[in-house]
Symmetry: C2
Subunit: 208 residues, 2 copies
DNA sequence: ATTCGTATCAAACACGTGTTTCACGATGGA
DNA sequence: TCCATCGTGAAACACGTGTTTGATACGAAT
């Protein structure tokens, strides 16, 4: 069970990812992670230095996946007109967010990072959020024929982002408000259609 | 300093409110609260039963203030047409939210409640959020001439709410993205104007 | 004057935390 | 075969936590 086989590190990292996402950094204990991963308490210290080192590694993984989401959104809009690029962005984002698939842990993790910011949040902002806003800003600016740094463009970007993010952020709240909500493809498509149309109309009005 | 004078309880409650809002329930210690309030550690146990009792009292206060915000938004739209009622709602909300005034602690508190839901969150949903959504739903339904429980109406309400909430929720993120942001009246009015126009256009498009 | 309930205080309690230490076994190269 | 290194294990360490306890002082009612 020991030796070259470095499965313990992987197992610990996996469990840590799930638990950190679910309850944040502070509310998860090293002991609990190791217990669920069938590893010794000292494993996290040996493989990751300390608890924070383990957390940083989990967060780095999250950043990689988020950058990948941005790239996919860009790719799906490739060659299309600006309004369809925006629709593609919303579509990719919602599919990745609402689907309780293998990526949902990321957004729970980000939720906790926003509630209790750590220095690592800066990395997320610089590497993920800023590129996304830049891309959306270019789209909006193209649609309304305004400079990308115009205030009105910035505000429209916020409006689009906020609608997308709301569907993931307020998850525990939304579940209480509409307990019969299902994340099937039909619902996702309907939300994509709504946010796209709603936003495109709003964007058009921003240019006067 | 002791006797009929019940200032300790008030002082503890005040400090607890500020600290719980800033760092959430778990990351604040009873000792720290009492130290800042110049009270003994046992004070919280005597006056509030235990730490959770103190937290519940803080959260109850928050619910009262939020209900008051809803009432004010309703009042400012009284007698106006539906689209101006919506503008009034956005205006009241943003003024209360963006202003770093005496109410900002509430939204930090809610942020932490959403990130780490406790049973008390149900109370917030039932007493604050549901009435707000009901009110906004009636406004939207009136504008687009659809039944209040129509899916399209519900989605528009979510779009409006998400834009308003985004300005308060992503505060630590927004501060990094646009560090030169100032919460003066001009900015608030500009955002109110943007969200109102953006949303009214989007709502109009929802009815086809 | 005595009694009772209120409000506060310092000290201690019981528990859980992240981290460290030291020892044991396995692995792979010299 | 020997030895250095790696991965793991159980136990202990140092610290911080919420909570409880017993004592003290004060004011008001009896």
């Amino acid at each position: 069970m020991s030796g070259k086989d470095g499965a313990t590190r992987t197992r610990v990292l996996g469990v840590a990812t799930r638990l950190f996402a679910g309850r944040g950094f502070e509310k998860v204990t090293v002991r609990e992670i190791c217990r669920e991963a069938n590893a010794n308490v000292a494993a996290v210290n040996y493989h990751f230095g300390d608890k924070m080192g383990l957390y940083r590694e989990v967060l780095d993984q999250a950043i990689q996946v988020m950058k990948c989401t941005t790239d996919q959104a860009r790719a799906e809009g490739e060659g299309k007109p600006a309004d369809e690029k925006l629709r593609a962005y919303v579509s990719v984002f919602l599919r990745r967010v609402i689907k309780q698939g293998r990526d949902s842990w990321i957004h729970q993790l980000m939720m906790h990072e926003i509630a209790d910011p750590t220095p690592a949040l800066d990395l997320v902002v610089d590497e993920v959020l800023r590129p996304r806003m830049k891309y959306l800003g270019e789209l909006v600016a193209g649609i309304v024929n305004l400079p990308v740094d115009d205030e009105r463009v910035l505000r429209c970007v916020m409006s689009v982002q906020s609608q997308c993010h709301a569907l993931m952020m307020a998850n525990p709240v939304a579940r209480k408000l509409t307990p019969d909500f299902t994340a099937d493809d039909g619902q996702i498509d309907a939300w994509t259609e709504h946010i796209s149309r709603f936003s495109l109309q709003g964007i058009a009005s921003a240019a006067r």
